[in-house]
Amino acid sequence: MFNELDPLLLSQLRLAIMAHLMVVRETDFNTLKTQTGATAGNLSAQISKLQEAGYIEVEKTFKNNYPLTLCKLSPKGVEAFETFYANLKSYFDNHNGG
């Protein structure tokens, strides 16, 4: 049986943001932009959607007098990603193993 995949994560950029944050825990906006290859506008829009869903936490701060936007996964986001991955895995298990 295959559980539904979280529709919020069925977007390339939102899934990439979540997967990146699963590895590094916390990162700044520019690193995310470099890592995902997204435009600033699109990245900002997708971060807002993930933030509204409570999956990531955004902190706006300063470092050496420059604005710095830090993003990290919330516990709800970690759970959402883990569930997404588990459902994905069960999908492939069902399709490959019968």
Partner: protein, 197 residues
């Protein structure tokens, strides 16, 4: 503006996760600066201690170790400060653990040296055990096999010290440091250049 709303299928989702995680791993790579800095300082201190003690029979042969701390600690702090200024970066779990391992190592090292001096035994094998431990964890965190090989060399060096006097132990420590710090340090630099840390 395109808002990237194309719905992924399971195959595409898995590909996005795999590619992103592979890329993210590059952000946790370290270069070899600290291994080379401390590696050369330890090798120099071991050889200097041996030379002062065995050849010159100088009563304060251990002074070589103080010079290592005086040079190494400020150099390491300045390097980290400049790197942090240049790349106001992102913290991440692996970097955090990496830093904590070496902080714990520093504290343990200090205590072990105090205990060994107090007990009037050579600290060298105990230092090698601690260095091997910290190097092993670093190698695991960075997924870098030369550091794992290096940690094995440190532990082997510690066991070999069982059969040697203090002066001979210094030469074992120097050799273990070449394998455990210097070779992985140079290889980490090569990797950092190729992967653009």
């Amino acid at each position: 503006m395109e808002n990237d709303e194309k719905v992924l299928n399971p195959e595409e989702s898995l590909r996005v996760i795999r590619e992103t995680i592979d890329l993210a791993k590059n952000t946790i790579r370290e270069n070899g600066f600290h291994f080379l800095l401390w590696g050369w300082l330890v090798v120099f201190a071991c050889v200097a201690d041996y030379y002062l003690d065995v050849v010159l029979q100088h009563p304060r042969h251990f002074m070589a170790w103080i010079s290592m701390t005086v040079i190494g600690v400020p150099a390491a702090i300045i390097y980290e400060w400049r790197r942090d200024k240049k790349h106001p970066a992102s913290s991440n779990t692996v970097r955090e653990w990496y830093g904590r391992v070496w902080m714990a190592f520093g504290i343990s090292l200090f205590i072990v040296i105090v205990l060994a001096v107090r007990a009037q035994v050579s600290p060298v094998p105990y230092i090698l055990v601690l260095v091997g431990f910290a190097t092993f964890i670093s190698g695991t965190l960075l997924r870098f096999t030369p550091l794992l090989v290096g940690s094995a060399a440190m532990w082997a060096g510690a066991l070999i010290c069982l059969f040697l006097n203090y002066q001979e132990q210094l030469l074992v420590q120097a050799a273990a440091t070449v394998v455990g710090y210097l070779i992985p340090g140079y290889l980490l630099n090569v990797q950092a250049r190729n992967k653009h840390v």
